[in-house]
């Protein structure tokens, strides 16, 4: 599942149509749309809204195949960057705390890249924001991305996060309207949907490390058969993991002991002896 987070409905509307998303149950009051592959949540504007929304969203992203992707418009800090260009963000810098965040750049999607600074106020070229000059040499500015991804990093690794931003202006936002933003997003729909499809196939390729850890019920049952102490329990769990990694069924190993009535054991000493015997059997 791709958990897509956007700040404004004018940014989201073209994507909702293009991805055929249907209205879904709101997330603690935050509006949502979803399909089988994508869940889009509207955070509202500003770093605090973005942070809260990201935390709520990422707490849901439990599968190793879930990705958190943010998208929105931003301002350019360089006058020569043309409005309407879509960037993948490789560095995010939170102006308030000075904290950076770097998502992994998997997979390669061929978009131009840039760093972004996130502040709590609208950028205005007439009154430059205090502290911006001391920031790393990033080229874009917005009010959500760093906050969202710093919050997301509490839940997800950097390989499960991506940020996309569309340049809307160069800090002269007076002429920017909801309509003009909608048009800009609309123009980028082919690129955006192709990128999201790449993210979807990348997410599907992410692997869960199967460490063959047995269920609590299985461990509890085997511990009662072997009358395990805590250290024996840990030894048993590791032995089951090792057996699993070698393609050996632990249940099959135990079957003769159960059939002969050796298991359950009478006392812990006997349990320890059998555990050591099983260990020798599969690991030497």
């Amino acid at each position: 599942m791709i958990y897509l987070q956007l700040a404004m409905s004018c940014e989201a509307a073209p994507l909702i149509r293009a991805l055929s998303l249907s209205a879904a149950q709101p997330l603690h009051g935050l509006k949502r749309w979803a399909s089988q592959d994508v869940t889009l949540t509207l955070s509202g504007t500003g770093p605090y809204a973005a942070c809260a929304c990201a935390a709520l969203t990422c707490a849901e992203a439990e599968s190793a195949h879930d990705l958190f992707v943010t998208f929105g418009t931003c301002a350019s800090l360089l006058p020569d960057l043309s409005p309407g260009t879509l960037y993948r963000i490789h560095a995010l810098y939170d102006l308030a705390s000075g904290r950076p965040y770097y998502p992994d750049m998997f997979p390669d999607i061929g978009l131009p890249e840039a760093g972004i600074i996130t502040g709590a106020r609208v950028l205005d070229t007439a009154s430059p924001l205090h502290g911006l000059a001391d920031c790393p040499p990033h080229t874009l500015y917005d009010m959500e991305s760093a906050a969202a991804h710093l919050a997301a990093s509490r839940f997800l690794g950097p390989h499960r996060q991506a940020a996309l931003r569309l340049v809307s202006d160069a800090g002269e936002s007076s002429h920017i309207t909801q309509e003009s933003i909608g048009h800009m997003v609309e123009k980028q729909l082919p690129a955006l949907t192709a990128v999201l499809a790449s993210f979807a196939s990348y997410a599907a390729s992410l692997e869960d490390v199967d460490d063959f850890t047995p269920s609590d019920e299985e461990v509890s049952h085997l511990c009662s058969l072997l009358r395990c102490s805590e250290s024996m329990r840990l030894q048993l769990v590791q032995l089951i993991r090792y057996a699993g990694s070698c393609g050996i069924s632990f249940q099959t190993l135990l079957a003769p002991y159960i059939a002969s009535g050796t298991l359950p054991v009478r006392d812990r000493k006997e349990g320890k002896r059998i555990l050591e015997e099983l260990t020798r059997l599969i690991s030497t």
């Binding site: 991805l19 592959d37 994508v38 490789h90 560095a91 950076p100 965040y101 770097y102 992994d104 750049m105 998997f106 997979p107 390669d108 999607i109 061929g110 890249e113 760093g115 790393p136 040499p137 990093s153 509490r154 997800l156 690794g157 950097p158 390989h159 082919p190 949907t193 192709a194 990128v195 999201l196 499809a197 790449s198 979807a200 196939s201 990348y202 992410l206 692997e207 490390v209 199967d210 460490d211 063959f212 030894q235 590791q238 032995l239 993991r241 090792y242 699993g244 990694s245 070698c246 260990t279 690991s283 030497t284």
Partner: protein, 341 residues
């Protein structure tokens, strides 16, 4: 989703994170000039990238990003207890690089570092300065590549060449360059000296399947052979020996492969041999086991004073088996066992 994906596989060092402080360092400029396609991202400190939480080490290893940084604090460390000292009293190691271009499933680095990306420290002059302080007190035996394999990236960083020059003016320094590479061009480029030991880690082919991205056993042996021919000081390391079902047969058949490829004359010229079974500190093993389900790592190791390894009888048996086979062409004074350390 209806659209076609647009992604393509990433090359190694697709992104290069550079600490702003060393952006203009000559070594930084050299490395960047060799990676013209890498996207350079300025950072304040390498830990901002390297120490992020919840990184997927296995995934990052498939296409590593590169981080260029300045190493601060202590640069030359006393040898760790789990390392073979080869009888050297003043035994040190250094960390010029964090992580390795190779991707061995059993590597302790996967349990030691929170990231699969590669950090290269560019301030070699500071390492040399600290080393000279030690050398003023006593001779130094220094392992250059414990937390990495420097050889496969030599064309990028030139560190082995730099140390080779440094050795020429510091005759009481000996360095070991441990590698799983088949570094024939490097061996040809460097004039041989007893002060630089090339230590090839060798494993049977049944084990090299767990050593992703590494050259085959045959390629490593060819490199060792050429190194001997060129007059280099060559060490062969059978460390770590790894338990696999049928290990006795695997390691017994391994030695004839060595003799067939290298020949008796070459084997006699090998400086020494190192033999040791797999061992790892408790904390590293815990993290390592989270990165892979490989049986090599999930083995039920036993804990001996905080170091996990095979049961002592098995470890001894494995090492004895190999040492016996090696004794056909190497005296006991040439075989260093981990247990004797």
């Amino acid at each position: 989703m209806k659209s076609s994906p647009v992604s393509s596989p990433l090359n190694p060092y697709h992104h290069i994170y550079v600490e702003e402080d060393i952006r203009e360092h000559p070594q930084t400029l050299r490395i960047l000039s060799r990676l013209p396609k890498g996207q350079v991202i300025p950072i304040q400190h390498y830990k901002d990238v390297f120490c992020r939480t919840r990184q997927d080490i296995a995934l990052q290893h498939r296409a590593q990003a590169l981080i260029l940084a300045r190493k601060t604090g202590t640069l030359i460390y006393p040898g760790a207890p789990v390392c073979q000292s080869f009888g050297n009293h003043h035994f040190y190691y250094t960390s010029l690089c964090m992580n390795c271009p190779y991707d061995c499933q059993y590597c302790y680095l996967r349990g030691m570092y929170p990231s699969g990306n590669l950090v290269l420290f560019v301030n070699l002059e500071d390492y040399f300065r600290e080393l000279e302080t030690r050398l003023a007190e006593h001779p130094v035996y220094l392992c250059l590549s414990y937390d990495t394999d420097l050889c496969p990236l030599e064309s990028l960083h030139g560190l082995i060449h730099a140390f080779h020059h440094f050795l020429a003016i510091h005759p009481t320094l000996t360095v070991e360059v441990r590698t799983k590479s088949a570094c024939i061009p490097l061996l040809r480029a460097l004039p041989p000296t007893e002060q630089m030991i090339f230590a090839f880690t060798l494993s049977p082919d049944e084990i090299t399947v767990f050593e992703r991205k590494t050259p085959s056993l045959g390629a490593r042996l060819q490199a060792a052979k050429e190194g001997i021919d060129l007059g280099h000081s060559i060490r062969l390391c059978f460390d770590p020996m790894l338990y696999v079902p049928g290990w006795r047969e695997v390691y017994t058949q391994f030695v004839p492969t060595l003799t067939d490829t290298l020949g008796a004359d070459h084997l006699k010229k090998v400086r020494d041999f190192s033999v040791g079974t797999f061992r790892i500190s408790q904390s590293y093993l815990r993290f390592l086991r989270h990165t892979t389900s490989s049986p090599i790592v999930q083995y039920p190791f036993v804990n001996l004073d905080g170091v996990y390894g095979y049961p002592p009888t098995l470890a001894r048996e494995m090492e004895d088996t190999l040492c016996d086979a090696l004794s056909a062409f190497a005296g006991p004074d040439k075989i260093f066992r981990w247990e004797d350390n």
